[in-house]
């Protein structure tokens, strides 16, 4: 089999936490043994909340800074350990777009110079050639070069600035673009425009994306496969459609339940029943499964043994001792229906009352404690 475009293996990134004076008081386990691969032309969505390590992972893949351990191979070439010019050359085919477009554009430079800069850095083409290339790139991202080439970043809207960042990322004909919350700061309609642009570029140029976001619906929209991160670990990875229809990890279930549904009649499972409490500190992550402190399915073994990633369905991998089964999903759906399921504003029942109403369904059908998604939480109300 041919080599994947990007192969990340057992990647570890850690940062020392020092007290005043420099004494080491702890280690932030930002990324702990993450592996995945990405084929040419494929989009892998990476979902996680603040502190999940998704941005740190992206930066470690870019070698900025290099990871503490593990391997990153781009087109078969190992990036970890490469220095200076050799790293720059090897990394050329991998570009990055960030959340804040203004933060990543030099405010003093004009748009054309910003877009040309990667070409200058690699000594590509003549001055006129680069000008022409910048104009083509601007046109490609939907900005009229006549109107925009001489503007400075402050004369751009957020959407336009992000288009400039995309044009710059395209300058070196990359095979892979890492988008780190690239549309998170944009308004809904502008965000849709930029997402569509990214999709057009993918189809036209055969780009691969590592698409990082906290928004599972957004990631689902653009991705072939989706990976879910929690507290520095990959907990589930699989084809987008499968992961959304049959989520296996309880954390993925909670993420899915948290998505606001633009339909007042949609069935809503109270999020409090799928996840509890707050994310623990990555300085001292929980033993065993890192999600266990918030998991409604957690049992003793979850604190003792770390669940390995295992393939339960073809290409659908999960790290959980008690992955969610079809039966659990059916029960949860029944419980949601019992709750009235729909728009809370019109249904008169309060939260406590609803929970009491739903309890018998799961209570009767499920024997062992913590076996059902909502079993534990339900009784707590």
């Amino acid at each position: 089999m041919s080599e994947p475009l990007l192969q990340v293996s057992d990647l570890v990134q850690e940062f020392a936490v020092r007290a005043r004076g420099g004494t080491r008081v702890g280690v932030v386990h930002a990324v702990s043994g993450v592996s995945f691969q990405l084929e040419a032309g494929e989009t892998l969505g990476l979902v996680g909340e603040t502190g999940s390590g998704k941005s740190t992972l992206a930066r470690a893949v870019m070698q900025a800074p290099p990871p503490r351990a593990g391997s990153v191979r781009l087109r078969g070439i190992e990036l970890v350990g490469l220095k200076h010019r050799r790293l720059l050359q090897a990394r050329r085919q991998m570009q990055m777009i960030f959340q804040d477009p203004f933060g990543s554009l030099d405010p003093k430079w004009r748009v054309a110079r910003i877009v040309e800069e990667p070409l200058v850095a690699f000594g590509i083409d003549t001055r006129q050639g680069r000008r022409r290339r910048a104009a083509t790139l601007l046109e490609r991202v939907g900005l009229d070069p006549g109107r925009f080439a001489d503007r400075r970043p402050r004369e751009l809207s957020g959407g336009q600035a992000q288009r400039v960042a995309i044009a710059r990322a395209l300058a070196l004909d990359p095979a892979l673009i890492i988008c780190d919350e690239a549309v998170a700061s944009l308004d809904v309609l502008i965000r849709a425009q930029v997402l569509n642009l990214l999709e057009e570029l993918r189809a036209e140029l055969g780009l691969a994306y590592l698409f990082i976001s906290h928004d599972l619906a957004l990631v689902k929209q653009v991705s072939d496969r989706v990976a879910v991160m929690y507290l520095g670990k990959l907990v589930e990875i699989g084809p987008a459609e499968k992961l959304y229809r049959r989520p296996l990890h309880p954390y993925t279930v909670a993420l899915l339940a948290s998505i606001p549904k633009p339909d007042p009649t949609a069935r809503r499972v109270p999020v409090a029943r799928t996840i509890r409490g707050e994310q623990p500190s990555p300085i001292d992550p929980p033993s065993g499964c890192r999600f266990r402190t918030r998991c409604p399915r957690a049992q003793e073994v979850c604190a003792l043994r770390e669940p390995p990633l295992r393939e339960l369905d073809s290409a659908h991998v999960v790290a959980c001792h008690f992955p969610v089964e079809d039966r659990d999903r059916e029960l949860e759906a029944t419980a949601a229906d019992e709750l009235g399921g729909r728009a809370p504003a019109a249904s008169a029942s309060g939260a406590g009352e609803s929970a009491a109403g739903g309890a018998p369904v799961l209570g009767n059908s499920v024997g062992g404690r913590g076996k059902a998604v909502a079993g534990g939480e339900l009784r707590r109300g």
């Binding site: 909340e49 707050e278 309060g350």
Partner: protein, 338 residues
């Protein structure tokens, strides 16, 4: 039944660099006690500015005209001393960024206690007791220990719970949540929204939730007001709005939301362009330049927000779903429209 809050023909102008920016342009709505109104729009639509006017929190460069009646009091032009009677006690607000709303150098407990004692003459110990009750009410775990902690020791979600506790300290009849969950993680956002909904029901408060997200509005409001370029463009009960939306802008907002039901790589229906420059002013409908249904008259006359069907108002010359075309098409085609 008279409304708790009645806003009539509200206009807010800002003077900036010798230009007049009309941030809110003739906005009218009312809100009954105990109900939740979602005000939805993009950046610059005027949703936050109009809510700040209701709280009396606009900078001095703002010129406000029109009427805001809260219970029996006219709030537009109210002198600052009299504002204090309403701010916090009648109307309270929760903001987007809880980190910046709290004093980083003070412990959590005293910050809540201080606000309680502003509203009620309570001995310190009783105020502290009430602060702990409020902290429990907002489901802050281990309230007693948190009382002694500083804001930086709390997560973003917990800080927002503290802000909600502070907002509730004056027992307000109206709570304004201005993008209160936007800065939070998805699972935390959902938990805070569920908390706000439960509190609102328990305490019988009215709520205005300001959001850019129609999805949140669908799940947590009784009524929706959609704003664009400083104007109200569609308003109805949440049920009606989502089942029979009329204003093309509302549909554009709805179609631009990525959905789990869409197959991977589905194109989003994205309207082109950007909102109008409010300093430059516009003629006709502010959405005309981006609207797929715009015709000649849209560029000439500005449509007003008028009640065309019982309880359903829209500001559009060519609304959706009224020319005999099949209604289901309205929602069925989204996500795929060319």
């Amino acid at each position: 039944m008279s409304a708790l809050l009645t806003v009539r023909e509200l206009r807010i102008d800002f003077l900036a660099a010798a230009r007049v920016v009309r941030a809110v342009d003739g906005l009218s709505y009312e809100l009954q006690a105990g109900r939740t109104l979602a005000v939805v729009g993009e950046s610059g639509s005027g949703k936050t500015v109009s809510a700040r006017a209701v709280m009396g929190l606009l900078p001095s460069s703002a010129r406000v005209s029109g009427s805001i009646r809260f219970e029996d009091t006219e709030l537009v032009g109210l002198p600052e001393e009299r504002w204090r009677r309403y701010r916090g006690a009648g109307i309270a607000m929760v903001f987007q960024d809880p980190a910046r709303s709290l004093n980083p150098t003070l412990r959590i407990g005293p910050q809540i206690t201080e606000v309680i004692r502003l509203h009620e003459r309570l001995p310190r110990a009783e105020a502290a007791q009430r602060a702990i009750e409020l902290m429990e009410m907002v489901r802050l775990p281990a309230a007693r220990e948190r009382f002694q902690q500083y804001p930086h020791q709390l997560s973003g979600g917990m800080r927002q719970r503290v802000m909600i506790a502070i907002a509730l300290a004056g027992r307000p009849r109206l709570l304004i949540a201005d993008e209160a969950t936007t800065a939070l993680d998805v699972t935390t956002q959902a938990q805070i929204m569920e908390l706000l909904r439960d509190l609102q029901r328990e305490l019988g408060m009215a709520m205005i939730m300001i959001s850019h997200d129609l999805g949140l509005a669908a799940g947590f409001s009784d009524e929706v007001l959609v704003m664009y370029a400083g104007r109200g463009v569609e308003r109805a009960s949440t049920q009606t709005l989502f089942s029979r939306l009329r204003m093309p802008y509302t549909r554009a907002l709805l179609e631009a939301i990525p959905r789990l039901e869409n197959p991977p790589h589905a194109r989003l229906a994205a309207v082109p362009g950007q909102p109008p420059d409010l300093a430059a002013g516009f003629r006709g409908c502010p959405f005309a330049a981006r609207c797929p249904r715009a015709q000649g008259d849209c560029w000439e006359n500005t449509p007003e927000l008028i009640e065309h069907e019982p309880g359903h108002r829209w500001a559009c010359w060519h609304p959706l779903g009224l020319e005999g075309s099949a209604e289901p098409e309205l929602l069925a085609g989204r996500g795929q429209r060319a």
